[in-house]
């Protein structure tokens, strides 16, 4: 590609089975959304990993700042009562 402008980065989300949610699989470069979908199909679903693909340009994702991890996440660590671990899950409930 030499001195050409690089294609923008896209994040790829794949739903591996109907009933499951889309999960982040990775990222790739593409010139536009349509190419991003086709590239995602070739790069991430070639071993039949998926039934549906979402792509979103990486610049549209707003990320939390790792420097703020202390105030954002640490206060939750000593509040075990917020975890759903105090009751038994029936076997019939899947994907929890």
């Amino acid at each position: 590609m030499g001195n050409k402008k690089e294609w923008p980065l896209w994040e790829v989300f794949v739903r591996s089975k109907n009933g499951l949610e889309h999960r982040h699989f990775g990222s790739l470069h593409a010139a536009d959304a349509e190419m991003a979908l086709e590239n995602a199909r070739d790069v991430y679903t070639r071993r039949s990993e998926g039934v549906s693909i979402w792509v979103v340009e990486s610049e549209h994702i707003t990320a939390s700042n790792p420097e703020h991890n202390g105030e954002l996440f640490e206060p939750a660590q000593d509040k075990v009562y917020r975890h759903p671990t105090f009751y038994d899950l029936p076997d019939e409930v899947k994907h929890m």
Binding site: H29, A30, V43
Partner: protein, 251 residues
């Protein structure tokens, strides 16, 4: 249909996928971007998968006197029946895409009709392969449009490649003896009848890509009879190297 004739017909079909698969495989690690590199090698693997199905069937018809590896790796150049189009080299990415595009549109129509073959195995292989080839066609057509309707440089490059490769397209629709015999027995596809639809489908994409459809009077032919361009020998020496250096080696 005589088993020997049927094997000849299978070679005529499968050699196109084999040689084009090898050309696309040459791009492994050399594609213009990582994503396109993977896409091209995926296409290569699809084509090799189809070739295996065809050659395993041919081996079975020969009562295992010949193996799939014999067919793929141990024939002489003149025994390969692929059309000249698929053996043309990867001069640049425009040539890779134009060659793929011109073949995919033929391949798709061919498989669509092969699904109705009275030979159940060939019909089953066609049914399985056509989904892969629909995607190949979409991939190459999208790239034709991107490059044609892209920058001035990309347009000039893809137009040059289409103009240059166009001379090999007529051969796709000229049956060799094996194809004529197979069609008479309702095993093979009447490829002559595919040309009108092919020209229309290819024309539609070229138009969307703002490219000019070449207007040629003289075409190159010969591959289906084993008379190839100078490029096939080099491709074969590369492809056959392992099997000739280590005879009977298996994965």
């Amino acid at each position: 249909m005589d088993k020997k004739d049927l094997i000849q017909y299978i070679e005529t079909i499968a050699d196109n996928s084999l040689i084009l698969g090898q050309r696309m495989g040459e791009l492994t690690g050399h594609g213009p971007t990582l994503e396109v590199d993977i896409a091209c090698t995926n296409i290569s693997l699809d084509l090799f998968g189809q070739v295996r199905s065809y050659f395993q069937y041919a081996a079975q018809l020969s009562n295992q006197e010949i193996s799939e590896d014999d067919l793929a790796f141990l024939r002489q150049e003149r025994a390969y029946k692929n059309v000249l189009l698929v053996e043309q080299p990867n001069r640049d990415f425009a040539y890779v895409i134009a060659r793929q595009f011109l073949f995919d549109h033929y391949h798709f129509l061919f498989l669509k009709h092969l699904q109705n073959s009275e030979d159940e195995t060939l019909a089953a292989i066609a049914k399985k392969s056509i989904k892969e080839v629909s995607y190949h066609k979409r991939f190459s057509s999208d790239w034709i449009i991107r490059l044609g309707d892209g920058t001035e440089e990309s347009k000039q490059k893809i137009q040059t490649a289409v103009d240059d490769l166009w001379q090999y397209t007529q051969e796709l629709f000229e049956p060799n003896e094996a194809e004529k015999a197979a069609e008479e027995k309702h095993i093979g596809v009447d490829i002559v009848s595919l040309q009108a639809e092919y020209t229309q489908n290819v024309g539609k994409v070229l138009q969307e890509a703002t490219l000019t459809q070449p207007d040629l009077k003289f075409f190159q032919r010969g591959g289906k009879k084993g008379i190839h361009t100078e490029h096939l020998g080099y491709l074969l020496s590369d492809m056959q190297y392992m099997q000739r250096t280590y005879p009977n080696m298996k994965w």
